[in-house]
Amino acid sequence: MESVRTQAEAANRKMQPWMRSAGQTLMWGVMLAMAFAIGPVVEQWINPYWFTIVILCGINIILAVSLNLVNGFTGQFSIGHAGFMAVGAYTAALVTMGLGDNVSWVSFVAASGFPPEAVFPIGLALGGVAAAAAGYLVGMPSLRLRGDYLAIVTLGFGEIIRVVFMNMEAVGGASGLNNIPFFTNFGWVYSVVVLTVFCVWRMVHSAHGRNLLAVREDEIAGEAMGVNTTQAKVRAFAMGAFFAGIAGGLYAHYLRILTPQTFDFNKSFEIVIMVVLGGMGSISGSVLAAMLLTVMREALRVIQTWYDVDLRMIIYSLVLIVLMLTRPNGLFGTREILDILPSSWRRKLAGGGTKQ
């Protein structure tokens, strides 16, 4: 053990491991802080219409990257991501509304000197946790299922969630939840984007991530090599759901109104399309595809004003078909955008790792 350790230390002679570790994590921290720093600038600089698109881009990136963890890296084809998003959205909204409107909470927040916005991260986190719990619940029984069967169960789950909210008077039923406080801004959305990409990237490039890849590649062989495949799948499901829940919270506090119809299976498919288009197993692919599709849907609105016919969805679908025909593995396949950098750079960025 001791000799192996000194060997490893000799290999990293240039820099102490703790320095490399701290340095790399710090880099992500700086990116996270930058989201808050440039937030006000962005909000002043672009018009409200494009600002909405920028916010939706961010939320869709979070959704696509988190779903990629399940669909792309673990190979479990889930099409119920909107369900987890709904759980997070409603939970976060109830937390901030309950805590914000409740007299004791208002006075507490005011007395403690925090701005009312302070309840927002708590709401987001609880929304994420509630969604993760839902992910755990779906993950457990559906682990025995593969392929199409799992897809059907997750689809069914997404619909169950929607119908439950539709029939819950406490959250406004079909007419939805109104007067959600407006908390979501550029800083919150893009700091969560950074956090999501950070967590999924590090997860995938760790021993835990290798377990997910083993499950994707060959579950039986993975199990025979000692991989606890059940645990790996539940982890992926729960972690994917966690970030979907946070995305839901961000969405709720931007639109300020939640209706169950928002989280129907069209929303789930939209996220699946982003993942497939970007490339199953490519984080940068998901990021780009989420941005591309979000912008494209809006850009195509222009065409609608030229003609009276709504060609928007037809063109949208055609673009998808053409892309899938020409690049069946998605825009990136399993590659990452960093792969175009020289390998020496990549090694530094990936933490002395090799191409994954």
């Binding site: 060997q7 990293n12 491991p17 570790s21 890849l213 039986i220 199990e223 191409k355």
Partner: protein, 276 residues
């Protein structure tokens, strides 16, 4: 519990597997001593693979016990059994095809009970200890690949290896789990005579190098007779013979199982005429 004098690292005691009305394996007793190369043979449908599936935890035996290092493994899941020191390869190679050769080994090293494992938070924060452990694992993966002469292909996708290399990688991957009892399911399937000869060398080599115990199912009699020190023969789920390759080749019940009754009688006739 007193350890019997002839106790092996892997034992099956009255192992029975019943599928509905079919007894695929019945009252099987096997004692596999440490560092043995043990062959399990029998005609098609004799129950060899069922035995493997019971030993590795894929099937739960209907009755009987499996003792792995004197620990009863009945009811454990496959991954738990692997972590207790028994790993396998597959009849039709099952590598992680889209991962690199190195990653295939790393997946196994991650499960190796001798290696330190880290929680999710430590892995996400990528602490210094995690970085060290990753570097150590990569160095060790390369060592293992060197032993199997696969180190120059470490960064290639497993799917791009020639078939013989894929089979070797599968054995290397099983070794990397830390298991020292290897079950090889038809390791020579699909290999040509030259590759089979090389495989025999590899099997002996890993037994000596890693002090491993090897149990193999095989139809290639040249390999079985050439490499195994002890052989058990199954027919219709029942062990009909066990012994050294020489004993097995002479055993009339084995000949009968493989070639039919007439053949075994003609051989008996031949034997008796020799006695005159």
């Amino acid at each position: 519990m007193t350890v019997a004098a002839d106790s092996g690292v892997l034992e099956a005691r009255n192992l029975t597997m019943q599928f509905g009305g079919l007894k695929a394996v019945s009252e099987l007793n096997l004692v596999i001593p440490s560092r043995a190369i043990f062959g399990l043979i029998g005609p098609n449908g004799a129950g060899k693979t069922t035995v493997f599936n019971m030993l590795t935890g894929v099937y739960r035996p209907t009755s009987g016990e499996i003792h792995l290092h004197n620990f009863v493994t009945n009811g454990l899941k496959p991954y738990q059994i692997t972590r207790r020191g028994l790993a396998r390869t597959f009849q039709n190679v099952r590598l992680f095809k889209n991962l690199t050769v190195e990653q295939n080994i790393l997946v196994s090293l991650d499960q190796n009970p001798a290696k330190r494992s880290f929680g999710l938070i430590a892995s996400l924060l990528r602490t210094a200890a995690v970085l060290n452990s990753e570097a150590e694992k990569k160095a060790e993966a390369l060592e293992i690949l060197k032993v199997f002469r696969l180190d120059d292909r470490a960064m290639e996708q497993a799917r791009n290896l020639p078939y013989g290399d894929q089979r070797r990688l599968e054995i290397a991957r099983a070794i990397a789990t830390g298991a020292r009892i290897l079950l090889l399911d038809e390791p020579a399937a699909g290999l040509n005579a030259h590759e089979t000869a090389a495989l025999m060398e590899t099997i002996r080599f890993i037994r000596d190098k890693f002090e491993a115990t090897i149990v193999l199912i095989e139809h290639d009699m040249k390999l079985v007779m050439g490499v195994c020190e002890r052989i058990a023969v199954l027919d219709y789920g029942v062990k009909i013979a066990e012994g050294t390759p020489q004993e097995i080749q002479k055993n009339p019940r084995v000949v009968e199982a493989y070639l039919g009754k007439a053949a075994s009688e003609s051989q008996k006739g031949g034997d008796s005429s020799d006695e005159h």
